[in-house]
């Protein structure tokens, strides 16, 4: 635990800072809500365009919806009634496609949990790999192995997620014909497991389905982390206190891991908060290709069917995640860096 005593010492200042930052998210979310509302409203056609063609939807329901959302009213009035429903009742409206409340449509089938699980597990794996690789790269600066690591990092960065996912799908299904071995690709588990309770076989199955996801999403952010770790460690290793440690006769291993790495790792902890929303938004395309049950995918299908309310709520959801990530980054920075004060 870095500087725990100091952290508690300035906790009081921290707390007000965090509260202030959290409250500050509200006006930002409000503006984002206005932007997403405007964007969705300027899209030609609305959800009633599809509903009017649907013989199951009666004229009465149509009128109800028009009145409920004030679709015949001016723009700002519509925005206000949409916002009022959210603020007062937590009601994001109904999806016209699924005929369920918006939050249910967005999160149906544990989508929220899966989204967070995929983002968090990818994040953890990224750090588990990036930190040792970065350290290795820094301690072997300009050696062939350093160049190889850098190259593969950049390669991961340069492959579009969706293309990587397509190629992996193709390799697994067409080249290795995993289907012949009873293995399916895409989704987070075989269909039969969705309704089953937790068992060892289910976990193994999930792991099988998850590894392409981890590889595809994980590699896209690895290069940045590796470079950050490498750069910081190189900077730290050139500082006088590291020289002192060496002069004391400490082994290189102790110098690197106990003295240098501990300080060099701070910025990586900080950007943890920034990576999380990137992973959530960045996984949208991968989720579509690999058919993962994430919020990103329900956002995509809502967009395709002009499911206005769901699209607006989806945009707000991603924005909220982004802001929470920034908040987390600030919090982590205060935690790991004793020099930052918040009075």
């Amino acid at each position: 635990m870095p500087h725990l005593a100091l952290f508690f010492h300035k906790k009081a200042g921290m707390l007000t800072y965090i509260i202030r930052r959290t409250l500050y998210m509200l006006p930002l979310l409000l503006i984002v809500s206005l932007i997403s509302f405007t964007l969705v409203k300027i899209m030609p056609g609305d959800f009633l365009t599809l509903a009017r063609l649907d013989p199951q939807v009666t004229e009465e329901t149509l009128q109800q919806q028009i009145e409920r959302f004030g679709l015949d009213k001016p723009f700002l009035f519509q925005y206000w009634s949409w916002l009022k429903n959210i603020l007062l009742h937590g009601d994001f409206g109904f999806s016209f496609v699924t005929k369920m409340p918006v939050y249910k449509t967005l999160f149906l089938g544990n989508k929220l949990q899966w989204t967070i699980f995929i983002a968090l597990s990818t994040l953890i794996l990224q750090y588990l790999f990036a930190i040792p690789i970065g350290i290795y790269s820094a301690t072997h600066q300009y050696k062939p192995s350093d160049h190889i690591v850098t190259f593969f990092g950049f390669l991961g960065l340069s492959i579009p997620n969706f293309f990587f996912a397509l190629v992996l799908l193709w390799i697994l299904v067409v080249l290795f014909k995993v289907g012949n071995h009873g293995l399916s690709v895409g989704g987070v588990m075989d269909l039969k497991y969705y309704t089953m309770g937790w068992s060892w076989a289910k976990i193994v199955n999930i792991m099988w389905h998850m590894w392409p996801v981890w590889v595809v999403i994980g590699t896209s952010g690895m290069a940045g982390l590796i470079r950050l770790m490498r750069g910081n460690l190189l900077d730290t290793l050139s500082l006088p206190y590291v020289q002192t440690a060496r002069a004391k006769g400490l082994t290189e291993r102790v110098v690197v891991y106990k003295h240098a790495v501990r300080n060099a790792i701070n910025p990586l902890v900080t950007i943890l908060g920034l990576s999380l929303p990137n992973l959530v938004a960045g996984s949208i395309v991968t989720a579509i290709v690999l058919n993962l049950p994430t919020v990103g995918r329900s956002y995509f299908s809502a967009l395709q069917r002009q499911d206005e309310n769901v699209v607006m709520a989806g945009l707000l959801f991603f924005s909220l995640f982004l802001l929470l990530g920034n908040l987390l980054a600030d919090f982590l920075l205060a935690w790991v860096d004793p020099r930052i004060r918040y009075d």
Binding site: L28, F154, W170, G186, L303, L315, N326
Partner: protein, 383 residues
């Protein structure tokens, strides 16, 4: 200090060289550091090659990019033969292919009765406009038999409508390569101006611009771009307008981060002694910004631009792949990949994945170029 004339500087350098000193300008030092980064040099070379290929796309590609070979829908890449029937080496040739339906799918069989030899720099193909002003029918290659008849050559196969994927990859690079620079052309002036004003003047303007930046940074990039793409698509605009719309959308959501960084840099430079000195000497705000502050952020801007381009290419590819970016009849690498949405078509027509390789190589090359530039312009790196 007055600037030395070129002649005087040369003389001074010669004098120093006699004494065993070598003087190097900043540009020379950056160039030397850049040359040292081997992978970066290869990347730069590839980037240049991509641009050359894009300019010559309609000449290198044997057909017009929207020419449809109805009888060659989803034709696999043509096999180029190097050996004659008796096994001896021969000029490269192809056979004409004939499509037959086996098990409900098209299968192409070679008609080995006639050989079509590859010929280079031959006229008589589709007309195109080289460099924008030379009307010509000359293409890099085509396949012809001795009697002058032609057979189609599809180096990368064809798509559903029987359009040559090789030509389309080359033509698709127009959009894919243009997106990054065009976005930068809009977002950089915006970010520099707003960030610069914010940092230099401070106060209420700074406050207002910073709040605007925060809003921009609170907007989730890809989801909002998808929504913008959906709006653009819904309006039934022409492909060109959609392309410009995508560029505008990318520029609008990407200036926030740059403005923040420029503001930070300007804040730091503003307090430097040389700026105070310039102000004391009576320099106007405009002069201070142009002569003293901008030169200090240029290297950062150049590097940032080079590293923004690949990011924009990836975003454009993802958007077009999802159908919210470039629309037909225009094409880009991401748009070409949009047919590969299900495993069935990838299994039957694996060559539709080829455009992805273009994205990977181009983005990788840009990243390496930017990486080398970053190392080169860093004054603290030891050369």
């Amino acid at each position: 200090m007055a600037r030395l004339s070129r002649r005087k500087r040369k003389a001074q350098e010669a004098q120093l060289a006699e004494q065993g000193y070598i003087s190097r300008s900043q540009a020379q030092m950056i160039w030397q550091a850049f040359r040292r980064h081997r992978v970066g040099n290869v990347g730069t070379l590839i980037v240049i090659l991509f641009f050359v290929a894009a300019v010559l796309a309609q000449f290198i590609g044997p057909y017009h990019y929207s020419e449809q070979f109805r009888r060659h829908s989803y034709s696999p890449p043509s096999t180029i033969h190097w050996r004659d029937d008796d096994g001896s080496l021969s000029r490269p040739y192809v056979y004409n292919t004939e499509r037959t339906i086996v098990d409900y799918r098209g299968v192409f069989a070679e008609d080995t009765s006639k050989k079509y030899y590859l010929q280079f720099f031959v006229s008589g193909g589709s007309e195109h406009n080289l460099f924008g002003f030379i009307n010509t029918t000359v293409h890099l290659f085509s396949a012809r038999a001795e009697d002058g008849t032609e057979a189609p050559v599809f180096l990368f196969g064809t798509d559903k409508l029987g359009r040559d994927l090789f030509t389309r990859c080359l033509v698709g690079s127009w959009v894919s390569l243009a997106v990054g620079p065009l976005v930068i052309l809009i977002s950089f002036p915006l970010g520099i101006l707003l960030g610069g004003v914010s940092g230099y003047y401070g106060g209420g303007v700074d406050m207002f611009i910073q709040r605007a930046c925060e809003v921009m940074l609170a907007i989730p990039g890809l989801p909002i771009l998808m929504a913008m793409g959906a709006a653009l698509r819904g309006f039934g605009l022409s492909a060109m307008m959609v392309f410009l719309g995508v560029i505008l959308a990318l520029a609008i959501i990407s200036w926030g981060g740059l403005a923040r960084i420029i503001r930070g840099q300007v804040l730091a430079i503003r307090e430097m002694d040389f700026v105070t000195a310039a102000r004391a000497a009576g320099a106007t705000d405009l002069r201070i910004v142009i002569r003293h502050i901008i030169p200090n952020v240029t290297s950062y801007l150049v590097v940032s631009a080079t590293l923004t381009i690949p990011g924009m290419m990836l975003t454009e590819a993802a958007l077009s792949f999802l159908g919210y970016g470039i629309q037909e009849p225009m094409t880009s690498w991401g748009q070409l990949l949009s047919v590969a949405t299900n495993i069935g078509s990838m299994e039957l027509y694996p060559w539709v994945l080829i455009p992805g390789a273009f994205i990977v190589v181009a983005v990788l090359a840009f990243n390496f170029m930017g990486d080398a530039l970053r190392d080169a312009v860093d004054p603290y790196s030891i050369v």
